[in-house]
């Protein structure tokens, strides 16, 4: 099926399931996506009435990981009496993975949510499209057949969807959330098995340490430290982030080279075995920094050393939460 038709089916699936959950009072609210007000965007939305389900949409610009709205840093959705609301959450694969991992980290009670599983067909790489268009304003972006059509004042350009989706989406093997009894509705994956050869980062991996360092330096130098990456990340839920600590100040707060690297690299350390590969950080970055290679490298380390893929099984302990005498440790001592 072409992407355009898949989108229509996914959208219908979302509306049908959301309407049913609200009508049957299985949930109080639904968190989903709605049409953005500017091209290349979408907006998260919370609805609480079945008649509003037509506001829910699916297109290939629904890049925010909605699990972000259920983690503690942002207050839990409550009703006027202060009681927790039962939430239905529109979940592409990476949203489902984030929810599962958050429950593993005891940040979320899966029993209090309904996962509305959808078969995600990929997110458009907004930055790549913007790079191609250059200093011209995009008025409209749509998917027609298997192509992305971008229109502006005096131009119309066609991009093949499979080339212009996020790099993470190209290698994603968990397009729908892993299935959980009594929690999931819609399309989910039963016991997903992840086989990943990480060939997409093979070239990066083959670089020398110096070359990697040059890449990372050049990648991060435009960072303004607005923390959009952190705030869009469902795994960044600390009440006080390490860079915000000010008694004592542990890390420099400026946009000088070393301070930027320390922020991003320490954040990366915290993401090992936790990143679900949703790409929300890169999509959110206003400066166009794409953290894809860093995140995939983390995923690779967790997979190769601990045979762990984040957010697949709510019963398996992630490597950073478990200790095994057989755990590999040579990388701490000898490797680059």
């Amino acid at each position: 099926m072409v992407i355009e038709n898949e989108n229509k089916e996914i959208e219908q699936l979302i509306r049908d399931l959301a309407g049913k959950l609200l009508e049957e009072k299985q949930v109080d609210v639904i968190i989903g996506y709605t049409e953005g007000t500017v091209p290349l965007s979408s907006s998260p939305i919370v609805i609480d009435k079945a008649e509003d389900v037509d506001k829910l949409i699916w297109n290939n610009l629904c890049y925010i990981n909605l699990a972000k709205y259920l983690v503690p840093r942002i207050p839990t959705l409550m009703n006027e009496e202060g009681q927790k609301l039962k939430v239905g959450i529109v979940s592409k694969g990476c949203v489902g993975r984030a929810l599962i991992h958050l429950s593993v980290e005891h940040q979320l009670d899966l029993e209090s949510i309904k996962i509305i599983g959808i078969p995600c067909n990929g997110i458009i790489n907004r930055k790549k499209i913007e790079d191609e268009i250059g200093e011209r304003e995009i008025f409209d972006i749509s998917v027609s057949g298997d192509n992305i059509i971008v229109k502006g004042r005096d131009f119309e350009k066609v991009f093949p969807f499979n080339e212009y989706m996020n790099e993470l989406c190209k290698v994603c093997q968990v397009k729908s959330p892993p299935f959980l009894e009594d929690i999931c509705v819609g399309e989910c994956l039963e016991n997903p098995v992840i086989e990943d050869d990480f060939s997409d980062i093979a070239e990066f991996d083959s670089k020398t340490t110096e070359e990697k360092w040059e890449y990372i330096k050049s990648l991060l130098e435009t960072c303004t430290r607005c923390y959009a990456c952190r705030e869009a990340c469902p795994m960044c839920y600390c009440n006080l982030c390490f860079v915000d600590q000010n008694q004592p100040v542990w890390f420099g707060k400026t946009t000088g080279y070393s301070d930027i690297f320390v922020f991003h690299l320490v954040r990366a350390m915290h993401m090992a075995g936790r990143c679900v590969g949703c790409g929300a950080c890169s999509s959110a970055c206003p400066m166009g920094i794409d953290l894809n290679l860093i995140n995939r490298s983390l995923e690779k380390i967790a997979k190769e050393r601990f045979n762990f893929t984040t957010g697949i099984d709510p019963r398996s302990l992630p490597p950073m939460m478990a200790y095994d005498i057989e755990d590999k440790e040579e990388f701490m001592m000898e490797e680059d």
Binding site: G36, T37, V38, S41, S42, S43, P44, I45, V46, I64, K68, Y69, R73, I74, P75, K127, E130, D131, E135, R136, E137, F139, R153, E221, T222, T224, R225, C226, Y227, A228, R230, E231, A232, L240, D244, N246, V249, G252, K253, T254, T255, G256, S283, A284, P286, M287, G288
Partner: protein, 352 residues
């Protein structure tokens, strides 16, 4: 007023002439973003940009500004002030909205009991050679906030892109003197000026976002506790994109960096944002703005209520960066529309 013509291939000459006496800042493409940099190669200048990613406020008010360096010798403290404060700058190719924002920045940093000499001096030593926006973006709304895509009042010299060349107009005395020095500039013809007027008209007409901001402070003032704030902050994730890339946001933090065991260090001003969880956090641990609701409200009230009350003008220049770049598309224009729909409180209706 005398108008001149600058041919597009003469920008290099212009740069060469001015760079002797001035730090020459201009828009260039750095990585994937248009930003203002002190340039060394005039061929890098991009003048037909839509809107720079980071506003040129970073020249007056850098993300990282060293206020002074210090050394401690025995009991003496030796302070070293920043050296480059008296350097003369030119910002070439600044857009009207960003030039407008400089007025707001200077208001903030110069009024009241404490004057920020560093920023005030930088502004005094900076000449703006601006350029009109022939093709404003659909997210631009300068005409709703006392601005205009061809507003030249805040410039020293104003350029209009006539396709093959630029029409040059000296606005301030400084700007007029500068043009006199560039004696090689050709005189403009009547038809050039007419063409510029036509472009101005077209640009104004092409602005589709119209916000009615008249008396918005009077709507906001009594509605501090209105449920609308919960509604418009519901999807905010609390990042600083809107404020860091806003040309009028002025919040900053001041930090000291000490070199361990060397008895020296420096004091640095960095950007801060009212969207951060640290903003207004008290030493006691209490934070009067501890949720997104209060922080989003603060940003809107600051621009559309407090700023007008304090300075008699709106705190927004309509550049549309926050509209364009918010990761969750929490569109300022939508927020304004919702605010405009707030029903006046009943008792006020009676009194009116």
């Amino acid at each position: 007023m005398e108008y001149k013509i600058l041919k597009k291939d003469q920008i290099i000459k212009l740069y060469n002439d001015l760079t002797k006496d001035y730090n020459f800042f201009a828009p260039i493409k750095e990585k994937r973003n248009i930003v203002f940099r002190k340039i060394t190669n005039p061929e890098e200048i991009v003048l037909d940009y839509l809107n720079s990613k980071v506003p040129p406020k970073e020249i007056l008010f850098p993300e990282k500004d060293i206020l002074f360096e210090y050394k401690i010798n025995d009991n003496e403290i030796e302070l070293e002030e920043p050296k480059n404060l008296n350097e003369q700058n030119i910002i070439f190719g600044i857009r009207p909205c960003d030039a407008h924002s400089f007025v707001l920045l200077v208001n903030f940093f110069s009024q009241g009991d404490f004057k920020d000499e560093i920023i005030i001096n930088r502004r005094k030593n900076t000449i703006l050679i601006g350029i009109g926006c022939n093709t404003p973006k659909s997210t631009c709304f300068c005409t709703s906030v006392e601005g205009n895509p061809f507003q030249k009042d805040y410039m020293d010299v104003f350029l209009v892109d006539l396709q093959n060349e630029y029409l040059v107009e000296g606005i301030s005395d400084k700007g007029k003197d500068l043009i006199k020095k560039l004696s090689w500039l050709a005189d403009a013809k009547e038809m050039d000026i007419e063409k510029a007027q036509e472009l101005k008209k077209q640009a104004e007409e092409s602005i589709t976002t119209k916000l009615d901001l008249k008396d918005i402070d009077k709507i906001l003032d009594p509605n501090f506790d209105h449920p609308i704030w919960k509604e418009v902050s519901e999807t905010c994730i609390g990042c600083g994109t809107c404020s860091f890339l806003c040309p009028t946001c002025t919040c900053f933090d001041v930090i000291d960096e000490n070199v361990p065991n060397k008895n020296r260090g420096r004091r640095i001003r960095i950007w801060d944002t009212c969207q951060s969880c640290l903003y207004t956090l008290h030493t006691s641990g209490h934070n009067p703005r501890n949720s997104c609701i209060q922080r989003v409200r603060n940003r809107i009230l600051h621009k559309f209520c407090y700023y007008p009350e304090n300075y008699g003008m709106l705190g927004c220049v309509g550049c549309g960066r926050c509209v364009q770049l918010c990761p969750v598309n929490n569109d300022l224009r939508t927020i304004i529309e919702k605010i405009k729909k707030i029903e006046p409180k009943r008792e006020e209706k009676v009194s009116a």
